[in-house]
Amino acid sequence: MAEAARRVQSGPPKRIGVRGWVYAGRYGLDRYLYILQRASGLGLILYLFLHIYETGIRLRGEAAWSATMALFRTPVFVVFEFILFAGFVFHALNGLRLIFAELGWLLGPPTRPVYPYRTSIRRHRPWVYALMVLTGLFVALAAWDIFVLLD
């Protein structure tokens, strides 16, 4: 009876919804990395489908293939390739970190929460910083290659 009374009174759940996939508000760094991992992953799978189609063009002979490659050397596609590469570098390095962390490594053992305590997420932060430095480094190298060494 009390159950029924309560049901009637509650409003609908206020879910943050899909907005949470693109907006992390005041939460910390890992919450933002989650968004980037998701965005880059979805970008990569979309690209993979295009990529499978595009590499298949070779079966239609040399002319068709060369035309496609010429298209990919236009500025729009070069920028696109760079964004893709940056997304891949981030996704792969962050993914490597996640493979370890999701299997319970790099987080430290359970500890009694006696003030001032550090949570596993804090203990894990140095790895996050290392990942960001590495990502920055590789993306800079890619920018150099794609925009400067471009032949």
Binding site: G11, P13, R15, E102, L107, P113
Partner: protein
């Protein structure tokens, strides 16, 4: 932290604008906001401010609290952009305008009172108690043996007060109500990692489903938000490891902790006074065991 007490000195009274979500289930279709000016002295918490509003400014305000010392888990609210316990949040650390909203991802009962039913439902579904096969479960004969190291494997996760704050922080629960959520998953680990437990098979099976534990992506928000240092994100990753080890058959498996029967031959030391006579004639089983 970016949050600093505003005002030059920590003493004296400053006026804080408390912007509270208002929702009345019988007259409103969605939440509105109302501003209250609250004089805040040093040490005042957000809960103190709500008490002040209810006593002096607006008796119709509804909020939930009980212990006002961070142990009952009643006063979880979404305060200035983060879910926290109102009784553990210093109001003057939040700036001149403080917003108070009900916890996200829950139905609203009224004003800033959430209906914690979704958390309770998931919590009770994961068998959050020690499971032992056979007679020992229903008719315990003795205490279990556990080393301090075995205790530390789960103790941190046993400090959960079921405030439901972590479910408000979780990005998966923001879209997927079928996801068990950080609180329940942390309790799955808490009991499965307990050396006294023998029920882990059923418990792990219940969360090893499409909407189960694998929808956690380690966004870390639950651990950041948890007011008790329970660290649900850590528990969930350790639980993933436990399940992976089980599936691949590489886990170290020990039987559940043995029980230690009381020493019936023990003699009372002469400097310890004898127990008082039983108040119930015949006494309980435990008293019968007394030498």
């Amino acid at each position: 932290m970016a949050e600093r007490a505003h005002g030059a000195v920590e003493t004296g009274i400053v006026t804080v604008t408390v912007r509270v979500s208002r929702f009345h289930p019988e007259t409103d279709r969605s939440s509105g906001q109302q501003d209250y000016l609250v004089p805040a002295g040093p040490g005042m918490t957000v809960l103190d401010a709500l008490v002040y509003i209810k006593e002096h400014l607006d008796g119709s305000l509804a909020y939930r609290s009980s212990c006002r010392m961070g142990i009952c888990g009643s006063c979880g609210m979404f305060i200035s952009g983060l879910p926290r316990l109102a009784c553990q949040t210093q109001i003057r650390a939040l700036g001149p305008v403080v917003t108070v909203e009900p916890l996200p991802n829950y139905p609203v009962v009224r004003d800033v009172v959430p209906d914690l039913e979704p958390m309770v439902t998931h919590h009770t579904a994961v068998r959050p108690f020690i499971v032992r096969g056979g007679e020992e479960q229903e008719y315990p004969t003795a205490e279990y043996l556990q080393t301090p190291v075995e205790l530390d494997a789960y103790l941190q996760f046993a400090y959960c007060i079921k405030c439901g704050i972590c479910l408000s922080a979780c990005p998966t629960l923001a879209t997927d109500p079928a996801f068990a959520g950080p609180q329940a998953l942390a309790q799955v680990y808490r009991y499965s990692a307990d050396s006294r437990d023998d029920g882990r098979r059923a418990r792990l099976g219940a969360v090893d489903i499409a909407h189960g534990i694998w929808r956690c992506h380690l966004a870390g928000a639950c651990t950041e938000a948890c007011p008790k240092g329970v660290d649900p994100a850590l528990a969930i990753q350790l639980l993933k490891r436990l399940i992976v080890a089980d599936v691949l058959g590489i886990g170290r498996r020990r039987g559940p902790a043995p029980v230690a029967p009381p020493d019936m031959q023990a003699q009372r030391r002469p400097d310890i006074p004898a127990a008082p006579p039983a108040t119930v004639p015949g006494g309980s089983g435990a008293q019968k065991n007394q030498p």
